[in-house]
């Protein structure tokens, strides 16, 4: 299988008053088409910085080393002008908080349409048709009418559906989901995970799923990268990482998850 995304020895460094700090150190992983790779770690482990680096969205001041290749093309070091064409078209990202990622002043239909027309030359009529299609695909009821709604008129789960519709409207080859279900209730989380898995099956998108929740990772990822303090502590098939972790940190992380099915002596 040809690899869609290849990250090799990625290092992200920030200048601080006490000298440069590596927030990501020598991280390497690959994502195939139709595959989901999970990145797990606690706060400050560098998991979000890794995904932002792939999108070329690191905060100003950050420097990178290593290599990030999408479909064989090197992304690191390319000017922002070119990366803008990659973002949305070939690689898209969804974030934890859909409310702060959507513009409150515009209807969701207009925002999805904007994304589509930034990459495809087409009439507004054609774009509107695509928007309705995208909203239908993510399970928004009455998509023609709801396209004219503002973000605040949707519930949290529906907003995340809108974000997914926007991210997938140009059929990107790679989707990066950074804690997409963390802010949601468990029942809604289950719906969104099912939706993402279904969309991926239909379109063959490669996915990077970033989360602190190992249980979520285990239900969605084929391969897992465990990060701690910017370092890659473990990387392997999900089954190996969960059933036979090689690193003590992974084991500790797995042991600290509270379990619903265990007997507890109080």
């Amino acid at each position: 299988m040809s690899e869609l995304l290849v990250v090799e020895d990625l290092t992200v460094t920030f200048p601080t008053t006490r000298g440069p700090v590596d927030v990501v150190k020598d991280v390497s992983f690959t994502v195939g088409r139709n595959e989901t790779v999970g990145i797990v770690g606690e706060s400050g482990s560098g998991k979000s910085m890794t995904s932002l680096a792939v999108m070329g969205l690191l905060p100003p001041g950050a420097t990178t080393k290593g290599s990030i290749r999408l479909d064989g093309v090197e992304l690191l070091g390319r000017p922002d002008r070119e990366l803008r064409r990659v973002r949305g078209e070939q690689a898209s990202m969804i974030f934890q908080d859909p409310l702060s990622s959507l513009n409150p002043y515009y209807t969701v239909g207009l925002q999805i349409e904007e994304m589509y027309r930034a990459h495809r030359r087409c009439s507004r009529k054609e774009a509107r048709r695509v928007v309705v299609e995208a909203l239908t695909q993510v399970g928004i009821p009455e998509p023609e009418r709801r396209a004219g709604y503002y973000p605040h008129q949707f519930s949290g789960g529906q907003r995340q559906r809108v974000m997914i519709a926007m991210a997938l409207v140009c059929s990107p080859a790679l989707l990066i989901a950074d804690e997409p279900t963390t802010a949601l209730d468990v029942t809604v989380q289950a719906q969104i995970l099912t939706l993402l898995a279904g969309l991926q099956r239909d379109s063959g998108t490669g996915m990077v799923f970033v989360t602190h929740d190992l249980a979520v990772i285990s239900s969605i990822a084929t391969r897992v990268l465990v990060m701690c303090r910017g370092e890659q502590v473990e990387y392997g098939e999900a089954e190996q990482v969960f059933a036979a972790p090689r690193h003590d940190y992974t084991r500790m992380l797995l042991e600290s998850i509270p379990r619903i099915d265990d007997e507890v002596v109080l």
Binding site: V186, A190, H212, F242, A243, R251, P258, R259, L266
Partner: protein
Amino acid sequence: MSDDVLLRVRDLTKRFTTRGPYRRRNEFTAVDGVSFDVRLGETLAVVGESGCGKSTSARIVARLMEPTSGTLEFDGEDITHAAGARLARYRAKVQVVFQDPFSSLNPRHTVERILMAPLDYQGIAPKGGRRAYTRELMERVGLNPDHAHRYPAQFSGGQAQRIGIARALAVDPKLVICDEAVSALDVSVQAQIIELLRRLQRESGFSYIFIAHDLAVVRQLAQRVAVMNKGRIVEQGPCDEVFKAPEDPYTRTLLAAIPRINPEWDRRRRAAR
């Protein structure tokens, strides 16, 4: 009910009125006829999804909010409308630990001042003096007592939550209400705080009302659980029964939605240890 009931809540209802456009009044019932008991030394968990009314119920029990109707009875005394000295006495026995330690700790106060605040409010002189009692409380929750003169911002999230817990313990309460007290923490830190909460209860024998949306966390802490949905308690009972054989369809949906690690992988990892 036996005599060991510490808190008796009956038919608690809270309605909020909001004004829509054109002065239209909208009523919203956040808590709808909720009844439960908390026994001495036990942990009752109240679980449910956002907006189900679990936090509103907790706030009413803590007397931080007035109920529209219903009664609260604590230690045999009706405190639903207690005021003045009686309310102050109630507050000496019931303490709250909040979700976000940083927004519930005054950033301009030192740990010592924060921990002594409940005693200052009660007008109680700390035993052994302020400094010694602060050190004792900090040690109990696993903080370095030499840090008594630091400010909240100098602590990590887990440590700050320990300060919040120490403050709740300062007055030696009989009931501690934890409102999503471990929800904002990383799993490894969360596990430590859960262990701390269990140890403190073993040592002091107080009761917890543990408000949470994470049922797996609840399983680690509570003997009994009340499941809320849309302002009502849809099911309550011993944790083991509710989790193993849920009777209400909503409880079943909630349990089914929890992501789990492949049990086969889990079993193999544990066996290899």
